[in-house]
Amino acid sequence: MIELVRRFAAADPARVAIITEDDQWSYGRLAAEADALAHGLRASGTDRFAIVSNDVPFIVALMAASSLVGAEACVYAPDITTEDLVRQAGTFGHEVVATTRTDLGDLPVTLRTPEDLRAEGPRIDQLPDSRPLLVLTTGTTGLPRGVRHDWSRQLSRTTAARDAAGQVWLLAYGPQQFAGLQVLIHVFSTGATLMAPPVRRPQAVMEALHTHGVDHISATPTFWRFLLAELRADDRPVPSLRQITLGGEAAPASLLEGLTETFPEARISHIYAGSEFGSTGSVRDGQGGLPAALLERGGDGDISLKIVDGELFVRSSASMLGYHGDTDLPEGEWWPTGDVVEVVGERIEFRGRKSDVINVGGVKVHPLPVEERVSSVPGVKVVRAYGRTNALVGAVVAIDVVPDGTVDERALKESIRSACADLPRPWQPRSIQVVEETAMKGNKIVRGTEER
């Protein structure tokens, strides 16, 4: 990370690296802050630590500092409760927590503020051999898992990145998410500008889009769906986006159509990535899924894909080293992604998560095609399909629908049922609930089978 920030700090120190609600950070200032924090980490003998902060410049500077001295940084959710913080620090053996929060009180860990961590010293040029980084997975239940990465592996494909001066990217992911890290790496490796809003929900970023000239956004399909709905309800002209990137979930065709209509000038890409197997790069042809040609790239490239029993496997030079507490994975290990796919013509199409499969009386139902069907029904703003335990057939497909207010509830349920009438019977939603919002985690919809 330090090499990215320093590259543009040397070439164009005044260039804006990060815009926050009330401040601006140039590449020069960011590099100087990273240097100071690196000296502080080294002086205090901190070789592993957690970061608990919603101050994105501080997080980025600390990440860069840790990549300079080989200390393992781990970003926690910025709004983590003190209870979860203590539990998580115990699980991952974090004794030091770097924070800008003032509400944490007295905890059984050492809290360090930016002021505590800054120290002076000569510029450090020699990068250590090992530059670890710990990323937490966004598990839907219980404690997250720690995924060990290495900065050199993560950055290996950014060296030839072009100069994208003037591009303003929105940080729509949390800084603790692997996808958020990918955005940071992309922005700083191309010398672009990051706009870091204090709240990253679609409803909350509208103002920032207009005020700060955001023209590039990478976000989940769920985020985009809500953003489109917000834009429809907003009187101002639609911001002219040049780049739309989707990742984290499969993107239904209906959403891609909506995005193309709303942002005719924008290029639409997909990123297929996971905390464990890293990013497989972006697909820029604007279609859903991945090109099937990726399966034939042989085994020598940085990234290879294969399908085993309907599940996509990835082998990547940017994959994790291993889980926290586990030994390193063997080099060149294939990673089961948990994504169920099917090759249709020239495309690898995503059917859903293996763990999201709903078993209806022995028939395996994938929630995504059901959602796709329902999301095209007029009057539907957002839909979430999931399995609901059922005493008679194990589980049934249930859907939660957020209406857009244009269609009466009874008529809406009627049209949803008609739209699903030609699906195989186990796939048809047996319960349709009209709700105000759907269950989400990290701007992704929660699926899988729920106990009631």
Binding site: V360, G361, R388, N390, A391, L392, V393, V396, R452
Partner: protein, 88 residues
Amino acid sequence: MNDVQGTILEIVGSLLERANKGDVEVTLDAPIHGDGLGLDSLETAELSALLEDEFGTDPFGAGLMPENISEIVAFYATVEGAGESALA
């Protein structure tokens, strides 16, 4: 006819209509399966989900296997507070 019973009959009626069995007469003592309403396993599962949506609990989920509508109505008569959402 009380409101819980009316709501149950309405749920069953619309379920049958969607299953193209709109001409089947819904009576309190008609058997749910077989020659009566003729609900198959998925339709019964849907009935269970719809009743739960409406009343927050349902006889199938509670481990019972009611054989006709009366038994479903009887189930709610024994559950305290059930039917409130239907009355509201």
